[in-house]
Structures are given as C-alpha cells and as structure tokens.
C-alpha cells in the first residue's frame, strides 16, 4: 500500500482530520484538557478547507453554536472533556428532539467534577447514554487507536447525517494523546443529509413509510419552518397532543434502534475457543489484548470483545459469546459502568467480574494479568 499516505498523528489530530474528510465545515467549542488539540487543529484547518471555527464563551455556547451551524446546513462538530460534557447535556437533548445532525467528541478524564485533569478514566460511559434527560437515541463510538479516531469520526458524521441525530465519539485520554502512524485511506464512504425537494410541501418532522427520517432543509435554503425543543408536530410547531408526543418520542428512538445491526460495531480477538472472555474499551482494551495473548502463551484460553460502539452496545455479539463462555471479566477505569450493560445482556449465563480502577492511571498489563488470573483460578 502507498506508504506516502501514512502520517504520524496524535489521536485528537486524527479526529479532526477524519472530521474534515467527512465534510466538517463548522466547529464551535471551548478549550478543555485533554481535548483542546481538537479545537486547535480545527482552528488551523477549517479556514483552509472552506470551513469556519469559532471559540465560544463556554461549553454550553459551544454545542449551541454548533447546532446553529448544522441547521444552517454545515456539518458541525464540538469537542470537550468530562466537565464540559456535563455542561453540554441539555443541548445534546435539544439536538436529539429537534433531530439536528451533530458530532460531539468527549475525551474522558477522571471525575467527578474537575477531578484529575488529563488523567485517563472511563467515567462517562453511562453519562453518554443517560446524561441528558428524557428518552432519546444514543450512538456513541469508542475508538481504541489513533487510526480508529480517524475512522470513527468519519462514521460519526455519517451516522449523524443519516439519522438526523447527534452522535458521540468518546475515548479516554490515552487514545486522544497517543501518537501513531496512520494510513489515510484513499476512499471512504461519505453520507450527506437528505434535503427536501423543491416544489413539494415540506414537513420537517414527518415520518412516512419507507421514509423514516424526514429530509432536513438548511435555514436560508428557501424552506421556512419552525424548530423547537418542545414536543412538536410534523411541521415543528409545539404540540401537547398525547398521541403525537408518544409518536414523536418513539420515532426519535426507533429511527436508531431499528438500525442497530447496521450501527453496532465490535471486534473479537481469540474468542473462537475462549473459556474466559474479557470485555473492554479504549486503552483498557489494548492492555487486555496484551494480557489475553500472554495468557494464551501460558495455555489459558482467553478471548477479548471490544465494543467499538458502546451505545448501542454490541448486544448480539456478547450474547453469542456468553452462551458458551461462562467466565467474563470486565476491566474498567471506573468503579463499574460497562459491567452493568454486560450483566444485563448475559443475564446470568456467565459469571461477570469487574476489575475496577480509579487511580487516574491506565491499566498496566501486569496488574490486569494478576487480577484476572486470580478471578480465573477461583
């Protein structure tokens, strides 16, 4: 393959290059470690590539401005870290109910509150799903390499455009600041939002058979309509009709749920004959893979499942594995979040053991190996 396409990138830089490749033309955000390199790279590259960058006065304004940019027709992104992710939650829900495409990057650092800035953690996994109030769809990618930061940022834009919904790219500080040679693919699939046809009446929130997701016109493109965070009718105007409320909420959730098989991604390593299964994400998955290989060299039949979408979780893949692997180990840089999802899915098929870590340090291979071996020998 063409070596000339391989470049040394930091995880955060790869995210921005992926975003530009996907067609990002608008970035609004607020500085926060360990995600600031995303804003810095976007500030440098967007004006070169026909786009616009703005640093807003706070995290809330960052996401609000990005939503405005998207409604003006530009593919938009904002990025943040723990405390900023907490601040963005209300407007994340706004983009869900108003069905506005958006990519939100969250580089996890240790919390709660200011916590341990720039120390890696995985404390936002549940916040990513439940952080904003009310029922809403969630698509959340969790890259575990620099290359995946590039690839999944592109996919995040594609899914946001396709499903008219905000999509999260979330990873831990280790992946965001890691540097690696990344081969830039020559061809990638790019999806753009559907736009309404001229001359036809436009109902921006109308769901029809075979056309689950209504097209989205840009403000200023000739279609006049109303967008609100209130429960609304097919025109976008506020509605208090109980039947319509039910229809609207179910629609924003179902448009993603129905396509779970298309969205969900995971990777498996050594699972074919595995007798013990690790389930891990991000930098923890990298440590787990090393540990699995070490165990294999010692005759322990270990395997690894890496969810690439934490939401929706790769439920079918885990269910298939748990039907034959009865010992599952979930190492996490928190006091247990992913483990709840694993337990919910395996429903007692297997014993599930959490390996927790909240020191603000990444999992070391020896530490994970020793703790996991103690579980295996039980």
């Amino acid at each position: 393959m063409a070596e000339k396409n391989k470049i040394l990138l930091q995880g955060n830089e790869a995210c921005v290059l992926g975003a530009i490749r996907a067609g990002m033309k608008f970035y609004a955000g607020y500085p926060i470690t360990p995600s600031s390199e995303i804003a810095e790279k976007a500030a440098e590259l967007l004006p070169k590539h026909g786009g616009k960058f703005i640093q807003m006065e706070d995290e809330i304004a960052g996401i609000a401005c990005a939503i405005g940019g998207s409604l003006a027709g530009l593919k938009s992104m904002t990025a943040t870290s723990g405390p900023g992710f907490s601040l963005k939650q209300e407007n994340l829900g706004y983009a869900c109910i108003a069905e506005i495409p958006l990519v939100v990057v969250n580089i996890m650092r240790m919390g709660p509150s200011t916590g341990l800035p720039t120390s890696p953690a995985q404390g936002d996994l549940m916040q990513a799903k439940w952080g904003t109030h009310g029922d809403h769809p969630v698509i959340c990618y969790y890259p575990s390499s620099v290359r995946e930061m590039y690839e999944y940022t592109i996919k995040a834009f594609n899914m946001a455009e396709k499903f008219r919904t905000p999509v999260l790219v979330m990873t831990d500080e280790v992946i965001a600041h890691m540097r690696a040679g990344v081969e830039i693919p020559e061809e990638v699939e790019i999806i753009d939002r559907k736009k309404p046809e001229w001359g036809k009446s436009y109902l921006p929130f109308k769901v029809t058979d075979g056309e689950e997701i209504a097209p989205l016109a840009a403000f200023g493109s000739g279609f006049r309509f109303h967008v609100t965070g209130l429960a609304h009718d097919e025109m976008g105007f506020p509605s208090n009709n109980p039947l319509r409320n039910d229809e609207m909420i179910r629609h924003i959730c179902a448009k993603v749920d129905k396509c779970n098989d298309e969205i969900v991604e995971s990777a498996e390593h050594f699972t074919d004959d595995a007798e013990v299964l690790f389930v891990a994400c991000g930098s923890v998955a990298r440590t787990a893979l090393y540990v699995v290989k070490q165990m294999r060299s010692e005759g322990v039949k270990a395997g690894l499942l890496i969810p690439k979408t934490v939401w929706p979780f790769p439920e079918k893949a885990l269910k298939a594995l748990s039907s034959r692997i009865h010992k599952i180990i979930v190492p996490e840089m928190n006091m247990g979040q992913l483990v709840y999802e694993v337990e919910r899915i395996v429903k007692g098929d297997s014993t599930v053991t959490l390996l927790e870590k909240v020191t603000g340090e990444l999992f070391k291979t020896e530490e994970m190996y020793n703790k996991a071996m103690a579980v295996i020998k039980q």
Binding site: H49, E57, C65, G68, F219, F225
Partner: protein, 267 residues
Amino acid sequence: MSSWLNYLRTHRFPHIWCAGCGNGTVINAMARAAEDLKLNKDKTSVVSGIGCSSRGSGYLDCCTLHTTHGRALPFATGLKFANPELEVLVVSGDGDATAIGGNHFIHAARRNIDLTLVIMNNNIYGMTSGQYSPLTPTGALATTAPYGNIDRTFDICKLAEASGATYVARATSYHVSLLKKCIENGIKNKGFSVIEVLTQCPTYFGRRNKIGNAPQMLRWYKDRGVLWKPGTKEDPDKIYLGEFVNVTDSEYCESYEAVIEKAGGKK
C-alpha cells in the same frame, strides 16, 4: 390584507400570551419593521430562548428556531456565522437574556456579530409565574421575593454598550413607532444590535406590585418615558428611551474572511 401581516404565521393564532401582555405588540413591531425593510422571509431567521418572550419566534413567518433557556444567542451565532447571508433576529426576555443567558449576551456584544437582539423586559419571570429577575426593581414583590426584592438591577442598555454592542436602543410597548424604528435601525446596523423593550406583564408583575392592569401599566410607561439625548442628566424616576449607541466597528463574520485569507482558504 396588510402586507406586514405576511410576516406573521396567523394560522398559529390565538397566541399563548395572557390578556393584556405586551409581547404581542413587540412581535407586531418586528413584523412591521420586517415589512418596511422588505426582508426576504426565506433568508430571515428568528431565534429565541425560553420564556414568554421566546414563544414569539413561532408567530413569525421565516426560519424560526426556539432553543434552550438562555442560549438563543449562541444558537443564533452558529446560524449567522455558518451563513452570513441570513438576517438573524433574536427575541429574548429579561431573565433569558441577562440571567441564564447573561454570559452569552456580553460575549455576542463583544464579538459584534451581526445579530439583532430584541429583549422583552417585563421585569419578571412570567412563564414560571412571577419569580424575580435581574430586571425586577429593588423593593418590588415577586413570588420568590415575598418580602420585597433586595437584588439590584442591571441597566440592559449600559451593559450592552459596555460589552461592545454597536447599536443600543430602548423603547416600550407604549412607544410603538419608536420601537419599530429602533428595530429597523438595529437590523440595518452591521453588527450586534440590542433593543430593550419594556413590556407589561399585568398578570405577574403589575398586579402584584399595584401598578395595575395593562392600560395602567402602559400609562406608567407613557408618563415616565422621555427621549434620551446626549448630555441628558438622568432622573431615576424617568425611563430614558431612544438610541444610545449607533456606531460602526468590525463585524465578526467579516473579520473571519481575513482569517480564511491568511489560512489560504477559499471564501
């Protein structure tokens, strides 16, 4: 049909506001200003936050965006910056613009981005039924100030001026000709424009504070309103109206064109 009515979504009437509310008068003035300036409805956007004032966006026939509490300005900033061809107006209330949205207010002014912000100041949180806002006068009663409000108030116009807005004016729901003219001049200004409109809330402010019903509140504005002129020695019992600032300075979206040029990008 009068052509200014074309700027209203009359099919959305009756509106949700209380009898005697001044907000409809402000929306009326906005529609008339739009008609006078012959604004292209397809290229005009009205953005609002949350509160009584912010329901105004739904009654104007253009691209309308009803956002979250206090955040209308950053949403509007995104729209305008992404597409500077859009004429973007923002309607907000005293609580929405200066309490929860206070930070966005001063920063939008500082950037001098080409937005026209109309703040309906009714001195109270009306939508949530009468709690005190940053514009509730000291000593006034509110549901959360049952013994009288001890907070001091903002002067919205002075705050806007100090923050860098290039057009700043005040009118009331009684002084409708002035109001329309100020909105028009605000739209014409290439930069951040702020029009504070004192508007009566008989339901939650006037009644509790013994100012009276809607006509009595309008009379209150009429009796106290005087046109401000440079050098005016201000009397605290008067309401100063008219244009306080109308200057030219670099506009944010235009300034970004220079960034694109320096970066070697295409416009």
